[in-house]
């Protein structure tokens, strides 16, 4: 905002003495070192905030970074190897399952395309109509009774 000084600080309802007192009480620090310090503190809080955000959202592999120190480096190598083996085994197993699923789906698709064996057959037995229990069935199919 481009602040333009108003010219009403000593207007008709303003008390110049109170205004001067207010100005002395609310005066901003004049020392340049104060402002340099404030700027540094602001930038420090900004940097800390960035670091905090990065810590809250670690990548899954970032845990291996903890093992980079010399005294626990062998443990880190073993852990990384195990993780690699597990990831490889999981990949292979998933590929097998996918292949099986694809084969089953193809088989089902082929079988469903064949004509049904009963399509051309003549049904000799009648299909009984499902009736409510209280229906007088013998009136509908008298020969059965």
């Amino acid at each position: 905002m481009n602040v333009t000084r108003n010219d009403n600080r000593h207007g008709p309802d303003a008390d110049p003495r109170v205004t001067d007192l207010l100005r002395s009480q609310y005066a901003a620090p004049q020392d340049a070192t104060y402002w340099n310090g404030l700027e540094a503190r602001v930038m420090l809080s900004v940097t800390r905030s960035i670091v905090r955000i990065n810590e809250l959202r670690p990548a899954w592999w970032s845990g291996f970074g903890e093992f980079r120190h010399a005294d626990i480096r062998p443990v880190g190598l073993i852990a990384a190897t195990i993780a690699l083996l597990v990831a490889g085994a999981t990949f292979v197993r998933k590929a097998e399952l996918d292949a099986n699923a694809r084969a089953m789906a193809q088989r089902a698709a082929v079988e469903s395309a064949l004509p049904l064996p009963l399509d051309d057959a003549t049904l000799t037995s009648r299909v009984r109509v499902r009736l409510p229990e209280d229906a007088p069935e013998r009136y509908l199919h008298p020969l059965d009774y």
Binding site: M1, N2, D13, A14, L21, R23, Q25, V46
Partner: protein, 187 residues
């Protein structure tokens, strides 16, 4: 159209800083802090009661601004956007602050008056009178009488209509004059 205003070199420089800061350049953001921290402090100081709270509000305001920087549109005025954020941070701190001690006036401030005893008493009385003002009225009178903002600018900063800022200023002045006139009549 036809409302294009000449853009100053300073405004262009600031726009460059904003664009660089949005691209992740922290040095550019530090440049924006350097440019705006004094005005931001003045805005915050008009709303809160102490220097420390004003400083906290400035830091929080800049931090909020940094986090929201990607949502800022560079064609806007960065200062107006930032000062609004700082004002909101200061209002938040003022609301959270439960204890308001009028005696916490900084002693190092120079007094414009000749009689130290009267000035000290007047300052203490002023501090008490300011405490009895509402947050908004106090902010309005300080922004207007100390910082020189216009009513419309104060309205934009505090999120109130210009007429309300004008009315708040009138009532705040009358209140302070009433409170401090008692002291003079006692003398």
């Amino acid at each position: 159209m036809g409302t294009d205003r000449p853009v100053s070199a300073e405004a262009l420089e600031e726009r460059e800083l904003v664009l660089s800061a949005q691209a992740g350049d922290h040095t550019a953001f530090a440049g924006l802090v350097h440019r705006h921290q004094r005005r931001a402090y003045a805005v915050a100081r008009s709303i809160v009661l102490s220097h420390d709270d004003a400083e906290d509000a400035v830091q929080e305001g800049f931090l909020h601004a940094f986090r929201a920087l990607e949502r800022f549109r560079p064609e806007q005025a960065f200062g107006a956007w930032l000062h609004r954020i700082v004002a909101n941070a200061a209002l938040d701190i003022a609301r959270r602050r439960k204890v308001r001690d009028a005696d916490e006036l900084p002693e190092s401030l120079s007094s414009p008056h000749r009689d130290p005893a009267e000035a000290g008493e007047l300052r203490a009385r002023l501090a008490r009178a300011l405490n009895t003002l509402g947050e908004r009225q106090r902010a309005v009178i300080v922004l207007h009488d100390v910082e020189g903002y216009k009513h419309a600018e104060i309205g934009a900063l505090l999120g109130i209509p210009e007429g309300t800022a004008r009315s708040d200023l009138h009532h705040a002045r009358a209140h302070l004059r009433r409170q401090l006139s008692n002291l003079r009549s006692e003398k």
